[in-house]
Amino acid sequence: MIPVRRRTVIAASVVTVLAVAGGFEMAGPRPGQSKALRGILQRMIGDFTMEESAFDRFVEDFCAAKAHWSTFEADALAILENAGIIRSAARAYPGLASKLDQLERQALTEFALATGIQGPPGSHPLAYLGLFASGACNNPFARLA
């Protein structure tokens, strides 16, 4: 458990980083991002089982595809997530809340499409099938006839 004062300091400095960040493209996953994305996804869909190497490939592809997430932003969000204070920080800083909301929804969407789940994953292991955008005619929802 991180003491309240330290939590505030971490959150404030990370939010400052977010405020000045911009323009840096993220090339592949950075330390802490895999853990952070797993944490975010678990919060959204519950526990899931996936081989570590497959999940790392997902994170790598996700980060490469979402290049508009600057390195600073992604790192900052990962730090907050991994410190377990992202929700409280988001409540305190509206700018962070909207970034977190975007990240959460993007991560959920890409992960669901890349694993083929359409709801909570249950206990069976998930396979990584590649990002939606790397395939063609793989829209699981479209009615074509």
Binding site: M44, I45, D101, Q102, E104, R105, Q106, L108, T109, A112, Q118, G119, P120, A133, A136, C137, N138, N139, F141, A142, R143, L144, A145
Partner: protein, 485 residues
């Protein structure tokens, strides 16, 4: 680099004379050429294209339509970016294939509402050409649309399958809410597979939307046509009020060709730049550059899922399009998205209960928004932020959403911000009957140089909320026929 059969090095044409010289190979030029080749008077044609010829496979491989980034071809001190493709096919490469016609009122904006400008012809005049352009692109659409946009022929292809929210709205608003008319094939054609809702149409992985590459190469390769790629037109030279020669640059130097009829279709930034470098025309050259203004909304649905339609945008709604409000605020067209633009919803069991809507609003062209030449002779774009007219139109349309969406179970509607650009640059060489107030006449012939035709969206005198390219195509067919038949 992909090739056309008639691709010819610039050195081989330098110094030659052609009956017709066409500049650019995008929507305006491509459809003009298609029509021109039906008429003897067109004679020998030279086509000068700045960019390279990149096949669909090469574009997929490179992840880009062209090696030339649009932003490197002009400088910009306007409030927004301007987006286009420099390369064989121009905007046919990067477009999304949305093809609504303009509304009859768009052609009479000033007569009806006292703002903007009238066009020198009306909807009825353009209607047969709309049908022909739709045929060429195998447009899919909803026959009910004739209630708003009268039509003399059925759509060449059936409508795309509506998403669930679109189907509910269609049932409740039959004459206002329609399946999106589109050049994303509903059924496979000879050269395109059916669209399967990959949702990244700017570079469609399966080549389902109409492009010059997949549907017009036969036109560009016609035996009467000589095609030069990598040929950037710099300026035109005039003599006694007529354009006599075209000067262009390639990797190997500067070249000159002469022609009887010159057709300028270099897009709404580069066409005026060529005329400015040539010293052709009045102070209106380059003035009035504009595009529609767009905002986004997200509708949180209660209990129904989205994304089950058969293409990226499945619905179009005219509930905020026309009426006396246009005296003070812009007309708006509502695009219903069959894609997860903002991601799935986070709540368990409700992932697909979201409906993104794009609200596109007409803008009033202002002469101060313009293209000038920078000290290097390259285009410099100057422009102010979107007008109050456009912003009010967007606000009005947003506020109408609860009424328009009454047939849907709506939990809440959220604004999602202003779109940086609609990618619809237009209006910088406007058309009109009065040479003192326009650059080209009702047949797109330059008021001063009578052997110079201007094609493409640069000639639009006003800004519809609807996407421009079908109208560009129809106008080019009309201009070609009126000039050459």
């Amino acid at each position: 680099m992909a090739r056309l059969k008639n691709l010819t090095p610039a050195e081989n044409v330098a110094g030659q004379h052609f009956d017709t010289i066409i500049i650019g190979s995008g929507f305006g030029s491509g459809f003009f050429l298609l029509e021109a080749l039906k008429h003897k008077r067109t004679g020998r044609v030279l086509l000068l294209e700045w960019g390279e010829i990149r096949s669909h496979a090469e574009q997929m491989e490179a992840g880009a339509h062209s090696a030339i980034k649009p932003g490197t071809t002009y400088t910009n001190s306007s409030a927004k970016p301007w987006n286009f493709t420099i390369g064989f096919g121009g905007g046919t490469n990067c477009w999304f294939g949305q093809t609504p016609r303009f509304h009859p009122s768009d052609f009479r904006l000033h007569s009806l509402y006292g703002v903007g400008r009238d066009w020198p012809f009306d909807y009825a005049e353009l209607e047969p050409y709309y049908c022909e352009a739709e045929e060429v692109m195998a447009i899919s659409g909803d026959e009910d649309m004739a209630a708003v946009l009268p039509r003399s022929r059925p759509f060449p292809q059936p409508a795309h399958i509506l998403s669930t929210p679109d189907a509910m709205l269609k049932k409740a608003r039959k004459d206002m809410h329609f399946a999106m008319p589109t050049a994303r094939a509903r059924l496979a054609t000879d050269s395109r597979p059916a669209c399967c809702a990959n949702l990244r149409c700017t570079l469609c992985p399966i080549d389902a939307k109409f492009t010059a590459n997949n549907s017009l190469t036969g036109v560009f390769e016609h035996p009467s046509v000589t095609f030069c790629a990598g040929a950037r037109v710099d300026h035109l030279e005039t003599e006694n009020g007529l354009v006599r020669s075209v000067h262009f640059e390639t990797g190997t130097g500067s070249h000159t060709v002469s022609g009887d009829l010159i057709v300028l279709g270099a897009n709404a930034i580069h066409s005026p730049a060529i005329l400015l470098r040539s010293g052709i025309g009045s102070g209106l050259t380059g003035r009035g550059l504009h595009e529609a203004y767009g905002i986004e909304a997200e509708v949180m649905l209660d209990g129904i899922d989205n994304f089950d339609g058969s293409t990226i945008t499945t619905g179009l709604d005219y509930g905020a399009y026309d009426g006396p409000f246009r005296k003070t605020s812009g007309s708006a067209l509502l695009y219903f998205e069959n894609r997860w633009k903002f991601g799935f919803r986070p709540e368990t069991g409700r992932w697909r209960q979201t409906l993104p809507i794009v609200i596109v609003v007409e803008e009033l062209p202002r002469d101060g928004d313009r293209i000038e030449l920078d000290p290097n002779g390259q285009p410099h774009v100057i422009g102010e932020a979107p007008s109050a007219y456009a912003r009010d139109g967007a606000e009005r349309a947003f506020n109408l959403l609860p009424e328009i969406l009454a047939a849907l179970p709506v939990e809440r509607i959220e604004k999602r911000g202003v779109r940086p650009t609609e990618s619809h640059l237009q209006g910088s060489l406007r058309m009109g009957t009065d040479p003192a107030r326009s650059v080209v006449d009702h047949n797109q012939i330059h008021h001063v140089c009578r052997n110079l035709a201007v094609v493409g969206s640069s000639v639009f005198p006003s800004c519809s909320a609807a996407n421009p390219s079908l109208t560009v195509a129809a106008m080019s067919l009309r201009a070609g026929r009126s000039l050459l038949a």
